[in-house]
């Protein structure tokens, strides 16, 4: 009797706590039968690695502040949208266009950005995650260059919501592709700019630092080796890793100091990293990145 009661109670609790939105089953059915991570892989582990990947927006800000000129020819054309027919390509290019939108926003080129907003909305709708992309508000904000902060805020929030939703639905593979597409696009923009400006050490180091992100992305892809598409991309990324093996990053820890400034604990970081990367390394990395990116956007 007691077991029956507990069983009933557990069933009621489970049914009450699912919290699924009405469109969830349609969403799950609409996805291709791409495998999620292999059996025994903790989704929490995958999600925690996904959380580490920095926003491509950080790179766009660096590029603008380094004095680089706005170069829309480096971005993926929104006219390529009809090419993306599989969920694999849609998720990757949702990430690519997300980076491109961030880049146009940072450079205040809102007219270009609007084309990407439209492409992003289409891809997100086709992946049944369009409800997280507030195209109306974003379009309104993009119409006025004074709204840059709000525009960046809302687009970042929307992409975060998409990632959290995909992860909560155990579709981390799409989340991995979205972040990878965004990263590869940011990589090729950075590499192109660094090659054009061989004297800019900061840009060269920025390319070198991406070794850390690549290692995390490779770790993520290792969970999806059974998926033919992801295995193919993994092989390409491993080629990139071979080029990165020539780049050295050395970390030296030194205790930080701190003071309170206007109610904020402000740290003085005394640790350092030195990044050993030559212009030739950058060129090699650029060439491989371009090949990978070419496959993604084609």
């Amino acid at each position: 009797m007691r077991l029956l009661v507990i069983g009933l109670a557990a069933a009621v609790l489970l049914s009450c706590s699912s919290g699924k939105k009405p469109d969830d089953s349609a969403f799950l059915q609409s996805l291709e039968k791409e495998p999620t991570a292999g059996v025994g892989v903790d989704e929490e582990v995958i999600n925690s690695i996904l959380e580490q990947i920095p926003s491509p927006l950080e790179i766009s800000v660096l590029l603008k502040e380094s004095g680089s000129k706005y170069a829309p020819e480096m971005l993926n054309s929104s006219n390529n949208l009809p090419k993306y027919n599989s969920n694999y390509k849609k998720a990757l290019n949702l990430g690519v266009y997300g980076t491109d939108l961030g880049y146009t926003n940072i450079f205040g080129r809102n007219a270009d950005g609007i084309k990407y907003i439209s492409s992003i909305k289409s891809l997100a709708d086709e992946l049944n995650i369009g409800q997280f992309f507030d195209v109306e508000t974003i379009g309104r904000l993009a119409a006025n260059s004074k709204n840059l902060d709000s525009l960046l805020l809302i687009t970042t929030m929307n992409f975060n919501q998409i990632n959290h939703y995909l992860q909560s639905q155990s579709r981390d593979n799409l989340s991995v592709l979205l972040l990878t597409g965004g990263w590869v696009e940011a990589m090729q923009i950075t590499c192109q700019t660094a090659v054009k400006n061989p004297g800019n050490t900061e840009l060269r180091e920025k390319v070198g630092e991406q070794k850390i992100i690549l290692e995390q992305i490779l770790l993520l892809f290792s969970f999806y080796k059974e998926d033919a598409n992801m295995a193919g991309l993994l092989a390409d990324l491993e080629q990139l890793k071979t080029a990165y093996d020539k780049v050295e990053i050395n970390y030296t820890y030194k205790e930080s100091t701190m003071e309170i400034v206007n109610g904020v604990a402000t740290i003085k970081d005394n640790s350092t990293t030195t990044i050993n990367i030559t212009p030739q390394n950058v060129e090699e990395i650029r060439n491989i990145t371009n090949t990978i990116r070419g496959k993604i956007i084609s």
Partner: protein, 141 residues
């Protein structure tokens, strides 16, 4: 008999609820509320749920980049930070920043990163604390 089962089921449900309204932690709302509190000039990056009802610490990680300044703030119900402390550890687990300074709870830390790498953002709770809060992170160059 049916009445008895129903009564026991209701009592069980009450007894088995993981938390009462008072104990629930709406960390998502608190994290969202933290976003507009990022200082001017910082671009929003992430919001973090700090739900420590069932654990002693909550931890996330992120790759910080040399030359970029990160700001992490804290939001909680009630007074100020409600005993929540945010600390940053480097990849070797050296503590490089904390919001508890000389026994004082600070609601935000600014970390101008000088060494690119994976960092751990850890939230702990100094009693008395309701173990529930939110946090947001922004960056500027």
């Amino acid at each position: 008999m049916k009445k008895l089962v129903y009564a026991v089921l209701c009592l069980s449900l009450l007894g088995m609820r993981p938390a009462t309204d008072d104990q629930e932690c709406n960390s998502e709302n608190l994290a969202t509320a933290c976003i507009p509190k990022l200082s001017d000039g910082f671009n929003f990056l992430k919001s973090y749920k700090v739900d420590g009802l069932a654990k002693d610490k909550v931890e996330y990680s992120y790759v910080f980049t040399k030359g970029t300044q990160y700001l992490i703030n804290l939001c909680a119900n009630g007074t100020n930070t409600d005993g929540i402390v945010v600390s940053i550890f480097d990849k070797e687990r050296n503590k490089v920043a904390t919001s508890k300074v000389n026994g004082q709870f600070i609601s935000a830390i600014a970390y101008p990163c000088n060494a690119t790498g994976i960092y751990y953002i850890q939230y702990t709770f100094d009693e008395p604390s309701s173990h529930c809060g939110g946090s947001a992170m922004g960056f500027k160059r």
